[in-house]
Subunit: 411 residues, 2 copies
């Protein structure tokens, strides 16, 4: 019998993973309020996270469980004008969390295509806009330490492996988040330093644009002089370093929302919280998405793009190469938290103000005209891979290859 070094034994492994989420992801501080958002299917992990957070000194752990089936019933039956409402208590909760709390979000649907048969216009509208706007503002103001981590479910495992093998999914996740290392915290320190070094390389180039060239893809994305590249974790306004995504393999920035030109073909399926979008193709003109195609889920994308005035503009561009632990698993996770860390990606919708320090003092309502996108939507989709070349272009038109053959070219 061979002992699989990556397998997570039921309790010990869960505790170890919870500790990673609490201590590396959100970096919970003594006396801090901790907010956990998860689905009912994640109860075992949430309980471990709560225990770990109290062990780290949390003053109070406030858990909000979502239920995708209750959400499905809402989308099917609630009056149209209710779909985008935010209950007042939910706005109160996100506002309180943004007063220096820690926010831990657990991702991983039990039924990844639960909403696929519904009216996608209603699915798209069914977002608590006021809460999402407040959420994005807290990100921009760096007023909480936050992280998103995965909560494996049997349904998700079935989507990845064709069978509900949760243990195998646990193992794959453990590998991507470096739980297979003897000292995962130290492994994360090294990994974060490597990503931050890439940010420094990119910042030094003072790029004006990046171009993606590959099968079905010829896209140029303009960058802002006020932006910088981020990766390997960020720091709150009150000085707490944290890692917003577990895993993370990206270096990303907030692009110029007025300058995106060309076409792009998605290289991985995109799970949109109940609907899977396959074979997505998008065309940009003057920074705006003007055409969308997909073999499944296109209506869900179109509904998101219609949600507010700037949803069609870009809020993120992110670079990932073949050294990614996620990419090296060879798996499609059908979950953006993972798949976006296997390949270069872009996001339509709101941008992270934290990645544009030169615009930090600009009032929110003026940001879009300064080139930084503001929207309640933020949807990443994957556009990179071995056949996609990434080129940087500086203000003098000089070109430098950043990624080619899935390998990082800068040094």
């Amino acid at each position: 019998m061979i002992e699989h070094s990556l397998s997570l034994p039921p309790v010990e492994g869960l505790e170890r993973y919870a500790d990673l989420i609490v201590r590396v992801g959100a970096n919970v501080q003594s006396g801090q309020q901790v907010y956990v958002d998860a689905l009912v299917e994640h109860a075992d992990l949430v309980r471990a996270v709560a225990r770990s957070a109290y062990a780290a000194g949390a003053a109070y752990v406030d858990v909000r469980y979502g239920d995708s089936h209750v959400r499905r019933a809402m989308i099917q039956h609630a009056p149209e004008d209710v779909l985008s409402d935010t209950p007042s208590w939910l706005l109160e909760r996100v506002s309180t969390a943004a007063e220096g709390g820690a926010l831990i979000m657990i991702a991983g649907e039990e039924e990844p295509e639960l909403l696929a048969d519904l009216d996608q216009e209603r699915v798209g509208k069914a977002r608590p806009v006021a809460q999402l706007q407040r959420h994005m503002r807290a990100h921009g103001e760096r007023s909480w330490s936050w992280t998103i981590a995965a909560g494996p479910t049997s349904g998700w495992a079935r989507q990845v492996f064709g069978e509900p093998d949760v243990d195998r999914l646990w193992s794959a996740i453990a590998e991507t988040v470096r739980l297979d290392e003897e000292d995962p915290v130290e492994a994360w320190r090294e990994h974060s330093a490597r990503l931050r070094a890439r940010c420094a390389q990119l910042d030094a180039l003072e790029l004006d644009a990046v171009r993606f060239d590959g099968p079905g893809t010829e896209l140029t994305v303009g960058l802002l002089p006020e932006s910088c590249w981020l990766g390997g974790g960020v720091e709150t306004a009150f000085g707490v370093p944290h890692v917003p995504n577990l895993p993370t393999e990206e270096t990303f920035t907030s692009p110029d929302n007025r300058r995106a030109e060309g076409t792009v073909r998605s290289t991985r399926p995109l799970e949109l919280g109940g609907t899977v979008v396959r074979d997505l193709e998008v065309r940009f003109e003057n920074g705006q998405i003007v055409d969308v195609k997909a073999s499944t889920g296109v209506d869900a994308v179109r509904a998101q793009l219609a949600l507010d005035a700037n949803a069609t503009r870009l809020g993120e561009v992110a670079l990932v190469d073949g050294t990614s632990r996620v990419g090296r698993t060879g798996l499609t996770f059908w979950n953006t938290l993972f798949d976006e860390n296997a390949a270069c990606h872009i996001a339509y919708g709101g941008a992270y103000v934290a990645a544009a320090p030169g615009l930090a003092d600009v009032p929110e309502d003026e940001l879009p005209e300064r080139g930084l996108n503001v929207s309640a939507v933020h949807t990443d989709f994957m556009i990179g891979g071995p056949e996609v070349k990434v080129t940087g272009i500086d203000r003098d038109g000089r070109e430098v290859v950043i990624i080619e053959g899935d390998e990082w070219q800068l040094s």
Copy 2:
């Protein structure tokens, strides 16, 4: 093969039960906001309730899942001064619900003794006092239509039957809530009318006190001239009739919090949300509990009694006889929702203002001195049974037997 008439087939039965909760219990109206409070273990039932509520015309179904293990971690590890706090969003939610919403609470622990090994002083303190006070005020002002119903779990079934036979628990619950009737809604109409007739009998007696006599019990509870007897459902201030407990078999009133005298022995175990109290014995002097004994869980009771100034005084006296469907199952449910409907009971803590219409215009802070108890605690415990005689005493000292040999004696 015999078809068991009480068994609930997995989906159809769940839908039928959810409809009963929504249409008879909370009586959800078209356009109403519906709030559901449940535990993560109740997700299947909650989903059915959400679908049923939307089918009844709910504008929005807002579900809050609790998690007893997260609560356990809080009680174990949170700073002492946090235990009784109410998060601001929770107060906002209960306040919004009290603006004419429907509130559906699902009861039924997966691990009924999960908190039994903890410091019971901390368990007692771990109550969101501000939320509970707001909740009791909404009850008094009849500003929402509300109901409590059971959500069976395997752990609860084990406590009742010695094995995790959830189907058997479902069947027992179905019987107590009249789901075995061909037309449960009509059966509830008849049952409610029967309970209301008892209230009329009791009101006509204009009682000054009730006395309980039985083994270990000799207790006289004073009544208020401003009170009335309630049972078989109530009506909101905005005119919606609803049934606050499913099942319900009681006629109850709000007693005089200054007049309770004697000793009382509990006739059934009492589940206090994670701690089971067995063989409870209580002594009253001048309306106050002055002595408490129990073979298990006594510290949990004492901690509740210490929570605020009036927790030691009575807030309810309720009469139940042997025709009770709950009593006729012969089961101890280890859950107050059921066990209180198998036998006469009293509650220490806050009273229902709705059962004292003569005091409806008195400001809340003056109610205790007028004899109506105000407290964040409301804990029912069972004191009736075949050997306990219930006697009414009117203002002239005349006695009338109300229950004897578990049979209702009034006509």
